[in-house]
């Protein structure tokens, strides 16, 4: 089984956690050993996957750093981690926490043969970029020492297209598509392993003859409602096509779902994302 590390990111509220959960479920369906990871504190992904049988972990950079020190220094680590100097250092050192979170993901994925698929809900665009940019940025700020070596190893994994994919999620609205295009540009500039562009909550394309039928709806309020839906669908097709042309990518359109519940949505989307997982 090929092993793969997935990062999922995008503008806030576009359904990143749901798409990440769908990727995890799709991988589990083909019997991969799957770990889903949230950064920071337990939130959407943990709630969506509760009861799915998939392992979900929360990685916090500050904890990961303390853990790292404990592994390397044993019981000598405690006085360090408890010392106010350490707190100040971790607070001031650029991106150390972000770096450590990525490092811990790398350990889980690359050091042990425990998981086939690791899916990371990397958070909203700005924050995720902070994490993803850190390995190379930190490598420059820390020019020697362990942190430097750690950063170099992380950066290599994030660039390794054979093992890693950074996916971007958007919705078909203009602003979300713009932000996704910008993010993909940033990822490419950082030379990271850019994965799929998911466009979530798409209305299915209108078949031929819809406009002729619309003209026959006499009830004005209903006609107005359906015409607006038709316009929205047309705008959505144009918006996605524009981003595809600009970035030379082919977007993966995910359907708008009627289930209000996150777990049900992720289960429904798992089929649509199977080829990527």
């Amino acid at each position: 089984m090929t092993r793969r590390l997935h990062f999922v990111t995008g503008k806030g509220g576009v359904g990143k956690s749901t798409v990440a959960a769908a990727l995890a479920l799709a991988a589990a369906h083909r019997n991969a050993r799957v770990l889903a990871i949230e950064l920071g504190e337990p939130a959407g992904l943990t709630r969506i996957l509760a009861g799915s049988g998939i392992d979900v972990a929360t990685f916090d950079g500050a904890d990961a750093l303390a853990e790292y020190l404990t592994i390397h220094l044993g019981r000598l680590a405690r006085p360090i981690v408890d010392h106010p100097l350490y707190t100040a250092f971790v607070g001031a050192a650029p991106g150390l926490r972000e770096l450590m979170a990525i490092g811990k993901i790398r350990d889980e994925f690359a050091l042990h043969d425990r998981w086939d698929t690791v899916v990371v809900d990397a958070g909203a665009t700005g924050h995720a970029l902070e994490h993803l940019r850190m390995p190379s940025a930190t490598g420059e700020a820390f020019r020697s020492g362990r942190v430097h070596r750690e950063a170099a190893a992380n950066a290599a994994l994030l660039r390794d297209r054979a093992r890693c994919s950074v996916h971007v999620v958007a919705t078909p609205e203009q602003m979300a598509l713009r932000e996704a295009a910008q993010l993909i540009g940033d990822l490419r500039q950082l030379d990271l392993a850019t994965g799929a562009l998911f466009v979530n909550r798409c209305v299915p394309p209108a078949p031929a003859g819809v406009d002729a039928l619309l003209a026959r709806i006499a009830e004005p309020t209903l006609g107005e409602l359906l015409r607006r839906a038709r316009d929205r669908e047309a705008r959505q097709q144009r918006g996605i096509a524009a981003v595809e042309a600009e970035l030379f990518v082919s977007a993966l359109r995910l359907p708008q779902l009627r289930e209000p519940d996150g777990a049900a949505q992720a289960a429904a989307l798992a089929r649509c994302v199977a080829e990527v997982a």
Binding site: T18, L85, A88, G91, P94, R143, G145, L213
Partner: protein, 350 residues
């Protein structure tokens, strides 16, 4: 709130339209004759265009909104605000230069997690003290970071702990005077981070120490401002399961923090279609020509399902936050384009 409060802080999950709601609140206050300013945390290009501005900048720009009062808009230019702060507060140009050139300072002022919050507080105090505005509406980073924002004053204080600065600022030669534990910690940190990095950090703290008094003064002022009775918090949410979950947690934390939650705004709500089901069913039955007919029928089903789901999300928020006024803003057909779009949102906030 729009008539009385001097500071309105908008908090909420990412992607719910906090920036738009913040601007609409400022517009509503300006319509009531007040001098209002909206302060965003990013360039918010769509908002700038809607306000008729080429771009939002670090200084406050007046918007030709045709309101009784004045509407102004600005954004937090992190780098600029930090540089201005350092230049203003440094005891000498040489100290300012040392800080501005330090690699740690440079990263802190642009990308270091949490620095937006520090500088937001600084900028907020400056604007609040200027007396140019009757009310400032502050857009904050998404909720994962909203608490970094509220805790920023305490965190800066902790970072500026005299003992810590003392130890980090003295540099290697003077480590002898530090305690055995501190020496041990510094040696370990040096091995992990490299000598040069530790020297950069040390220089940074030496310079920062000289600014500590000014920073601590600001954080005291900021803490007072966030708890002032004339400061109101507005929680912006959206009709989605995960957003509602996150919003409820955020509201609890706000309360625990002693902040007063003045209102909840649920943005982009799908209203129930104003057509009887029987009427719609009859209209669809009269259509022939699948799949076009079934596509249209599915859009009607979408609208009904979305409205029902949104109503249940609203009910859950209401139940979780009893006594807090809740305003629902209906979904618009398009993204924010003009002042008219903003006025539409503002109309639902009164």
């Amino acid at each position: 709130m729009l008539e009385r409060h001097r500071l309105i802080v908008c908090v909420g999950a990412g992607g719910v339209g906090k920036t738009t709601v913040s601007a609409a609140l400022a517009l509503a206050a300006a319509e009531r004759g007040r001098r209002a300013m909206v302060l965003t945390i990013d360039p918010a290009r769509a908002l700038a265009r809607a306000l008729g501005l080429a771009e939002l900048t670090g200084s406050s720009q007046r918007v030709a909104a045709g309101t009784r009062g004045v509407l102004a808009a600005g954004m937090l230019d992190q780098k600029r605000a930090w540089d201005a702060f350092v230049t203003r507060q440094a005891p000498s140009p040489a100290v300012a230069r040392t800080l501005l050139d330090n690699p740690f300072y440079q990263r802190l002022s642009t990308s270091f997690a949490g620095s937006t919050e520090y500088v937001a507080i600084e900028e907020l105090c400056r604007l609040a003290d200027s007396g140019e505005h009757d009310v400032i509406v502050l857009d904050t980073p998404p909720s994962a970071h909203a608490f970094d924002f509220l805790r920023a004053p305490e965190r800066i204080d902790r970072l500026l702990d005299r003992d810590v600065i003392g130890a980090l600022a003295v540099g290697r030669g003077a480590w002898r005077t530090a305690s055995a534990t501190a020496r041990f910690v510094l040696r370990r940190l040096e091995r992990a981070a490299g000598t040069r990095t530790l020297r950069d950090i040390s220089t940074f703290f030496v310079a920062l120490d000289l600014l500590a008094g000014a920073v601590l003064e600001r954080t005291r002022r900021a803490r007072a401002l966030l708890r002032d009775p004339e400061t109101a918090f507005v929680l912006v949410a959206g009709p989605r399961q995960l957003v509602v979950d996150e919003s409820v947690v955020l509201a609890q934390r706000l309360r625990a923090h002693g902040a007063s939650l003045a209102a909840v705004v649920v943005n982009r709500v799908h209203p129930a279609p104003d057509v009887a089901h029987a009427v719609a069913a009859a209209a669809f039955d009269a259509l022939d020509g699948a799949p076009a007919a079934s596509w249209l029928r599915a859009r009607w089903d979408d609208a009904v399902a979305e409205a029902a789901a949104d109503a249940s999300h609203l009910a859950r928020l209401r139940a979780a936050l009893p006594g807090v006024p809740l305003h629902a803003v209906p979904e618009a057909d398009h993204d924010l384009h003009s002042l008219t779009d903003l006025a539409r949102v503002a109309a639902f906030l009164s």
